[in-house]
Every structure is written in C-alpha cells, then in structure tokens.
C-alpha cells in the first residue's frame, strides 16, 4: 500500500531530503519544549514535603566575623520575644530559607565504606520541621532529648534512606559526613526518616536530603533565618511591628522579612522564565515551518499537475488524489520524525541528563510533539491537495 506512495517520494529524494531535514529540526525544537514542559508538570505534582502557607521567613544579616557564631543568649532572646507576639504561633530556626537560591551540598558516608552519597543539607532547630508541617514516615524528629549527645542527630528523607539502607530501617543508624578513616570522624545518628523536603519549591528535582539538628545552646554556626508561623490571615502590615521587635534585640543587624508565599511566587517566575523563552522561540519557528511547508507543498502539487491529470484520466477519483497528497506528506513527516527519534531515544537510554528524562516524561513528550508535527503537516497539505483534486483531467493533461 505504502510502497507505491514511497516511489514518488524517492523520485524527488533531494528535495524531500531537505524537506525532511526541516521537519526533523522542527520536531527536535518542539520535542525539547514538550520534554521540558512534561518534566515541569511532573515535578509540580510531586509533594514538596512542607507547607508554605502562613509561614514568614526572617533573614537576620549580621556583619563581622564575630557574629558568624551562634550566641545562645541572643538566639534564646529571639525565640522568646518573637513567640510572645500575639500574631505569632511558632518560631523555628533554619540556616537558609526555603525558596531561596542557596544550596548546601555535602557527602554522607557509611562508617565502613569509602564511597559517599551526594546529599543536600540544611540545619534546623527542633521546632522547625513541625512548623513547616513536614511529614515523618518512621522514627522521630530530633528534639531536646538529643541535646548533649556525642553524635549529632539528623533526619534523612525517604530517597536517601532507600539508597543508603536498602531493605532495612535507617532509624538509629550511624553515618558520617567526613571520609571514614580520617582522624576526626564525627558520627551522626539518624533519628527519623521524613517524606521529602524540596526546599527550592515545586520545580526542584527530588534529591537526597539531610536535615541536621541545630542546638540553640551550642556555639556552632549561627542560623541566619528564623521561620515564623503566623496566625492565618495576618497581613503584611505586621511586618513593621515585627521589624521593630527584631531591632530591639539586635539593632545593628539588618532584617529581611518576607512571607514564604511571596518567595514562592517569585521563585516560580524565575524557574519558568527559561521555559517561556524557549516557548516563544519554538512558536516563532513553528509558524515559519508551517508557512514553509505550505509553500513547498503548493509548489509540489503545481509541478505534478500533469501527473495528477493522468491519474484522473485513467479513473482516479478526486478523493484518491486528495488521499495521495496528504498521505505522502504524512509519510514524509513520519520518516523525518523516525530519524529524529533515533537520535532522541539516546537521551533516556544513555541517561545523559539523569533523572530529568525518565520514560514517562520522554513518552509524553514524544506523543505531544509527534501530534503537533502531524497536525501542522496535515493542515499545510489540505489546501494544496484540495486544489489538486479539483482539477479537471483535460486541463491537467494540457498543463505546461
């Protein structure tokens, strides 16, 4: 069936080669866009693992080396006086705010193994996980009962627990963040496993995540951010009052107060900018490809008028002619896209981009981009085909 349609395609191979090359390029552009959109959609629907509603973040900016260390009195003072405000439900410390652009990475080792696991880290005070509404799967959150122990308490997310301790419980296990065998190995005790903490927001790829316990009494690194859970319905007007309260404690520090909801909004805008830019460019290119295809097909049919006349003369109906032109175009698009798929299938097979391209996303993107290219091809071939099918055989045979 297709064989006799392939024949005229083969006869014009050079022209068709250029045409398929164009379709292939367009397919790749659309595929890139579809892939990105599908991945974003997939990520957006994964749980972030925490609730941003009614939580405000306060960055406390100090200057000078001395203030880099935690001062128990000052921290305790912040905790107490902020909790005393009527609008505030809970206060907890964290070293950098969710939805901010900071990242902190490290390696985690099993005590008897030199190969590390890449993880993202954050420090939190005992109150913070509860304040952020995070979900615990097994074990317990760290708390004041971990105060003064030799091993620092940590909690890890499910993804990391599954990869570090496959088939057994991670709770109670010891790990270390320095390479085993070095002199000053400090052990960390896992007290619990939580669902996830995608602190960069909805479009962050799931990572292995570790939360370390920060003790307000210790002289470690100072926590730069206070998370404040406010009563529902608190307006931004509370900000000034909060700022005055903070200035009472340390007047020489600067404070950045912003509700997490606002930070989330701006982070989302920032994350979707690349997608928007690519979308605009892709639309431009597709409009161009559409016009180009239309022009080329028009010319092709014009050139083949004598051939069509001959087909009509020996009894082909106008529907046949119609079908022939559209089928030829679809076949050509299919060939181009198959070639494209041969190239693109390498992405998930080789795992170049890791988790970003999984089969679900890949297949979704394939379906979307194929449908789009087919739609454009069909639309562009309809009018020329219609013109060709309406020719009267006598005129067509005489056409010069």
């Amino acid at each position: 069936m297709f064989f006799h349609i392939l024949k005229p395609i083969w006869k014009r191979k050079f022209k068709n080669l250029l045409l398929s090359l164009e379709i292939l390029l367009a397919f790749c552009v659309v595929f890139g866009l579809a892939l990105m959109s599908a991945r974003y959609y997939q990520l957006y629907h994964l749980p972030t693992g925490f609730a941003y509603q009614d939580v405000w973040s306060v960055r406390m900016l100090s200057s000078g080396e001395f203030d880099k260390k935690n001062d128990p009195n000052v921290t305790e003072n912040f905790q107490r006086s902020l909790s005393a405000l009527p609008e505030v439900e809970q206060v907890g410390f964290i070293n950098y705010s969710p939805y901010s652009n900071s990242t902190w990475r490290s390696d985690l080792f099993l005590p008897d193994n030199k190969s590390g696991f890449k993880v993202n880290l954050t420090d939190m005070a005992d109150e913070t996980p509860g304040l952020l509404g995070m979900k615990l799967l097994e074990g317990r959150w760290f708390s004041s009962e971990d105060e003064g122990r030799t091993e620092k308490a940590i909690v890890i997310n499910k993804k990391l627990a599954d990869s570090m301790f496959p088939g057994k419980s991670a709770v109670g296990q010891l790990v270390t963040d320095t390479e085993p065998g070095s002199k000053e190995t400090k052990f960390l005790r896992i007290t619990g496993v939580f669902e996830d903490f995608r602190n960069k927001g909805e479009f962050m790829a799931p990572t292995s995540f570790v939360i370390m316990r920060f003790s307000r009494a210790a002289r470690d690194e100072r926590m730069e951010v206070a998370m404040i859970k406010v009563k529902p319905g608190t307006s931004r007007a509370f900000e000034e009052k909060l700022n005055q309260q903070l200035k009472l404690i340390r007047s020489d520090w600067g404070y950045r107060i912003s509700p997490l909801a606002e930070m989330r909004k701006s982070k989302m805008t920032e994350d979707t900018i690349p997608l928007m830019v690519i979308a605009v460019i892709a639309v431009f290119l597709l409009i161009m490809v559409g016009f180009g295809l239309f022009g080329v097909l028009w010319q092709n049919t014009t050139q083949r008028i004598p051939e069509i006349g001959l087909r009509r003369a020996i009894g082909a109906s106008s529907r046949h002619i119609y079908q022939q032109i559209v089928t030829e175009q679809l076949l050509l698009s299919s060939i181009a896209m198959l070639a494209g798929m041969v190239l693109l299938i390498q992405l998930p097979l080789t795992g170049v981009l890791g988790d970003a391209i999984n089969w679900t996303v890949f297949i979704t993107a394939t379906v979307i981009s194929m449908a789009l290219i087919y739609a454009i091809s069909t639309l562009c071939s309809l009018y020329p085909a219609w013109r060709a099918s309406r020719l009267s055989p006598t005129e067509a045979l005489h056409y010069e």
């Binding site: 200057s63 931004r236 000034e240 600067g254 161009m288 016009f291 080329v296 050139q303």
Partner: protein
C-alpha cells in the same frame, strides 16, 4: 549589470506574490528575533546614557582568594577600595557601591520591597544619572554620614502617591528604609544598567555599624575611571601590583588573591565562564558562543527558504535556459541567484527593523523587565545588515547551485 540583476529580481519576486510574501514573512520573523537579541546585547555591553562613560572606566566585581583546598569568592570589602584602589596613580576616580539589596519601606500602613545601594560620592560623578528634581549626594554628605537618600521615579510614585508632578513634592520627605530614616534629596530617572540599577541610593557611611571599613570581602563593587580610554591598560597593570600588596596584608593569609578590572563585555564573560583566576576574561569565547547560537537559530528558517526557493526553479526555467544558451557560466548564475536572495533578505531586514523597533517599544513599556529602555542604535543597523547577508548566503547557495545545473535543452522547453 547589478542594475539588471536588480530589475530581474524585482520582476521575479512580483510574479508570484504569495510565495514572495511567505518568503518575506520567514525572513522578517527571523530578523526580528535576532535583532531584538542584538539590541539587548548592545545595550548591555556598550551602554549609553547613565553608564555612557563605560569606555573610560573598568569595574571590579569579585575578589577571589585561593589556598590549597579552599576558595573564597565574594564581592569586594570596603577596605580594599578605600585603602588600596583609591591610592592608585593611574586612576582619576574610584567609586564604591554595594550591590542592590532588597529593603522594606514602611510608609503609613503599606510595605514595599525596593532595591537599595549604598554608594560614595564619586559614584555620582562617574555615572551620569538624569536628575529629575533635587540633587545627588555630595562628598560632604558622604563624609559626614548624613542620612540622605536619592530615589528613582518609579519608587517615588509607588511610595508617595502617583501624581504626575510627584517629583516636586518628594524632595524633603522622610523615608524609612530597612529600619533607618532617610531624607530624600533627589529623584533620578529609572535605569536598569549594571552599576546603576537600584530604587534607592544612600551614602555608604550610613551603615548601622562601621565594621564595613575593615573588611576585605563584603558587598562592594568598584569602578575605576581613567582620564581616557587609553589609560585602561595602565590601570590593569597597576592593579596587578595592588593585588599583590593586598594579598600580603590580608590577615587570613591566602596563597593567591585575584582581582580583575574589566570592561562590560569582559565582566559578563568572566562571570558566565567562571574565569576568576586567569587574566583573560574569555570575551572572545562568549562572543563566539553568541554568534554560534545565532547561526543555529538561523538554520531552520534558512532550510525553509532553501525549500521554498528550490520550488521556484520552475518559474525561472525558461530564463535560465536562455542565459545558458547564450553562454552564461554556472558560476555567474549562482552569483546572480545568491545576490537576488541577499537582496530579498535585505528588504526583509528593513521590514524587520521596523518590527524590531515596535517590539523594543513594547518591551520598554511592558513591565517584563523593570526599567528596561532599549532602542535601535546605529550599531544594531550595522549588525542587521551583516545578519541579513549571512542569512541570504546561508539560504541562497543550495537552490542557486541546483538552478544553475539545469540542462539548457530541457530548460528552454520549460520542463524542470
């Protein structure tokens, strides 16, 4: 000869108006996208207006300190600028300004987030802000640490009510930014440029504590202005000596310290390509990358034109046959067709420029990028011409070569 070609081209292009229109549309679309990008890059790398003296000054954004297994990279501390850079012999003026940081402004019962910079007096002399009312801080203001502030027009409107004669009333008002009280002494025009972008500027001496004076790393950018563009290499040379001195004096003792004084283009290239430890900023690579991406973007529209033009051989068959019968060589024909194609592209570029202008006006008015003001410049015209020619050659060669290979006997009969 050229006149003949031109006439033939016009005739041919008017013969099939629909296809010519499709051709043109593709060219115009491509041109608009490329020209908008070019205009933006031009405004970024070679600014006019507030940073119009850019060819006379260099900027330093980061200090990189390296020891065996540690690297610290941060904006400059005020001490480096005040104690070292100001003492350089080759510079005329040195300005220190912090990067923009968001502060909250409490006015009546509303809260606004705006971007604040703290700057010294030289900052206002190196950059040419357009002052709408009032004045900008003087050396005395900075020396005495007066709590004065300059705001831009949008901020003045946002914070104090949005009437047209706003700037007259704003000067003299008090503003509470980031928990400090300032008196507004001037209103300037909105700008987006790299060193000028901010909503409010206050003297550097208004920091809550004077610790900043002792810091080698902090939140400062430095601008070093020479008497003329010819001084810049001398400034770069002297800076190398200064950096050695800083490395020796720095109390934490790093093995190496790196600081580079860069022009705009170099500054961006260094930032994008992470070249903190080598003198060469990689500007050439950056530009090559930009050109490569532009060519890549042109590939699809070019293929499109190739396909369209290949289809138009039919119309020209008789003409080609006659030309060949009278002894025109293939090379001559190729030359002619490529020329025609370039001509069409140039026309498309001209139309594209008009649309680019419209797009830029729209971009400047839409609040996609705050304070963006981009306009066509002579340089963009020149780039447009170059892009059109490249695009014309890219999309004209293959169809021209195919046309020239037509068999004259068949061509004369009109069967392609």
């Amino acid at each position: 000869m050229l006149k003949n070609y031109f006439q033939i081209a016009c005739k041919v292009y008017l013969r099939r108006k629909l296809f010519t229109a499709i051709n043109l549309l593709c060219i115009v679309l491509t041109m608009v996208v490329l020209l908008v990008v070019t205009a933006m890059l031009q405004a970024t790398f070679f600014p006019t207006g507030v940073e119009g003296k850019s060819e006379r000054f260099l900027q330093i954004g980061t200090v990189t300190q390296v020891s065996k297994n540690n690297t610290r990279r941060s904006p400059l501390g005020y001490k480096i600028i005040d104690q070292y850079l100001r003492k350089m012999k080759t510079v005329e003026k040195v300005a220190a300004v912090t990067g923009p940081e968001s502060v909250s402004v409490y006015q009546k019962d509303s809260v606004n987030e705006i971007m604040m910079r703290r700057a010294d007096a030289e900052y206002w002399q190196i950059l040419d802000f357009k002052i709408l009312s009032g004045r900008v801080p003087t050396a005395e203001d900075v020396r005495l640490g007066r709590f004065v502030a300059v705001v831009n027009e949008s901020t003045a409107k946002k914070i104090f009510d949005s009437t047209a004669v706003v700037s007259q009333k704003v000067v003299g008002q008090k503003i509470n930014a980031g928990g400090q009280q300032f008196e507004i002494i001037g209103v300037v025009e909105d700008v987006i440029h790299m060193n000028a972008f901010a909503d409010i500027w206050v003297p550097v001496t208004t920091f809550p504590s004077s610790q900043y004076r002792e810091q080698y790393s902090g939140n400062f950018n430095a601008m070093l202005m020479g008497k003329s563009a010819a001084d810049l290499p001398l400034i770069r040379d002297e800076l190398l000596q200064v950096v050695k001195q800083i490395n020796a004096d720095e109390p934490t003792h790093w093995e190496h310290t790196y600081m580079w004084a860069d022009s705009k283009l170099d500054f961006f290239a260094r930032g994008i390509l992470n070249r903190d430890e080598v003198p060469d900023s990689g500007a050439v690579q950056l530009l090559a990358g930009v050109v490569f991406f532009m060519l890549l973007f042109m590939l699809l529209p070019a293929l499109n034109l190739v396909n369209l033009n290949s289809g138009r051989i039919m119309e020209r068959a008789a003409e080609i046959g006659v030309r060949k019968a009278f002894g025109a060589s293939n090379r001559e024909l190729v030359k002619q067709f490529v020329m025609e194609n370039i001509l069409l592209c140039l026309f498309g570029a001209l139309v594209g420029l008009i649309f680019t202008k419209l797009t830029l006006v729209w971009l400047s008015n839409a609040d996609l990028i705050p304070y963006l003001k981009v306009d066509l410049s002579f340089a963009v015209f020149a780039y447009g011409f170059v892009i059109a020619v490249v695009f014309g050659v890219l999309s004209g060669v293959i169809p021209a070569w195919k046309m020239s290979r037509l068999d004259p006997v068949l061509a004369l009969k009109g069967a392609a």
